[in-house]
Amino acid sequence: MTILELNNVYVDIAGVEILRGISLQVDEGEVVALVGRNGAGKTTTLRSIIGLQKVRSGKISFNGMDITNMPPYKISKYGIGYAPEDRKIFADLTSYENIKVAMKDSSKEENILKMILDIFPELKPLLSRKGGYLSGGEQKMLCIARALALEPRLLLLDEPLEGLAPVVVKRFYSSIKKIKEYGFTMLIAESNIHHVPKLADRCYVIERGEIIFEGSPHDILTNNEIAKIIKGY
């Protein structure tokens, strides 16, 4: 069952056309990667889905409902969680408070926290620490944990592995796998082609605001032309 569908979406930022007729779909339970080099339009696509970027034309449907240009808080309440690339942790709030802010239903707090700490056990001793005092990797974990606290039907992860040390990247592979095991559907923006097979079931390649390829992660790695475009050399 298709949970997210983008149909011919165009987005302008400051008069410049950033997305040019993007169409993609994500099925329930899938992990889909949106792969492309920096500036290709990955972040803009995710921001358009969550409502942070105005769509000029086209349609975004979530769970059969038209969510194009809806306020972000409504889209989030309908079941989309968003973890931005730059983390945007509330620095003055503790890790626990960051998570709790996103929690819609306090009666489920125990279960949600249990799930989050199962996925990211490293966060347990950090719950009382302010977000601003966490390392980059810890902030990435908290950022995803905060989005999970919404109990979303679809999780948008923008470059979850960006800027992480190689050893931490391996750690994140298993976390994302675990998130999938919990049944969350994910759309992951990723610029490193080599991460894709370890993260996604299916992927789209975006270049200059257009989807230029759709296939399995293996297809991308074996398609020299596409790999060249993503790597930029």
Binding site: Y73, K77, P84, K88, F90, L93, E97, K100, V101, L150
Partner: protein, 292 residues
């Protein structure tokens, strides 16, 4: 002089208590909505005038009603201002908000003049009936002690609310990053409106509490606004703790200054404010703000 210190201290704390109520609202609105509300002083004045309607009676029940209804009314007026006018300029340059809120302060001042007249309104009955408390041989008005206690209670409740409740965390989250808060399912517009309500409530409470020992009169808004600005510049824009400490500093300097250096008392406040701006531009507890 040393024998008078406790009285100057209490007078300073009393004045600080009133300043805290006004400046806490001003700084709360700024920290969440990034709006420097120049109409805040006028709302404080309106609170005093609305309270005067009730406080002129000798019935304690009506007086208490005045202390409840005046802040609530100002809170609602503040929300109406936010929903009706301010929300349209959130994404505009700062000049727009300054022009709008300054214009509003003039409009509110004129409404007060037209409705209540230009003569000062005095309702000293409550202060007189409460009498005084003997402190080290000096009589200190019992009403002023009540105001101090009220401000401390408000400060504690506000602190606990912001630090210990989910709604408080949400308000702080919006103050840190309204865009991300919105992506987490928070209706930021509702939080902005609620913050304006809280800010208005505090301004109205300050206006109601200052009335009994003084008078309600045109122009009282300007002094309140200027001194609140001094408080939040010293304490740090956007910080409730800063408003608390800044109010204490300003209140005590005013109290002791009136006795020790009456000619320079106000100048001294501005010198301290300028020194803070030079040494620590964001104030003692302030943060650097960016619009998100």
């Amino acid at each position: 002089m040393s024998a008078l210190i406790p009285i100057f201290l209490l007078n300073g704390i009393y004045y600080a208590a009133l300043l805290f109520l006004i400046s806490a609202g001003l700084t709360l609105i700024f920290s969440v909505a990034r709006i420097l509300n120049l109409a805040h002083g006028a709302l404080f004045m309106l609170g005093a005038y609305i309270a005067s309607i009730f406080l002129m009676y000798n019935d304690i029940r009506i007086i208490i009603l005045g202390f409840v209804l005046a802040p609530l009314t100002i809170g609602l007026v503040s929300v109406a201002i936010e929903r009706g006018l301010v929300k349209w300029i959130y994404n505009r340059e700062q000049e727009y908000q300054l022009l709008l809120t300054y214009g509003l302060s003039l409009v509110i001042s004129d409404i007060v003049r037209i409705t209540f007249g230009t003569q000062p309104i005095s309702v000293t009955g409550l202060v007189n009936s409460m009498g005084g408390v003997d402190i080290l041989g000096y009589t200190f008005p019992a009403y002023n002690l009540v105001v101090i206690v009220a401000a401390v209670v408000v400060g504690i409740v506000l602190g606990v609310f912001l630090e210990r409740t989910r709604l408080g965390w949400i308000i702080r989250a919006c103050s840190l990053d309204s865009e991300m808060s919105s992506a987490l399912g928070i209706n930021v517009n509702l939080i902005f409106a609620f913050t304006f309500f809280l800010g208005g409530l505090l301004a109205g409470l300050g206006g109601a509490l200052i009335l009994p020992p003084t008078v309600a009169m045109p122009g009282m808004d300007v002094n309140a606004l200027i001194e609140s600005f001094i408080v939040i510049v010293i304490g740090g824009l956007g910080s409730i703790r800063g408003a608390f400490i800044g109010s204490l500093i300003v209140g005590l300097i005013r109290s002791f200054g009136i006795y020790l250096f009456p000619e320079y008392e106000l100048a001294f406040l501005y010198i301290i404010m300028a020194a803070v701006l030079l040494i620590r531009p964001r104030g003692l507890f302030g943060k650097e703000y960016r619009r998100v």
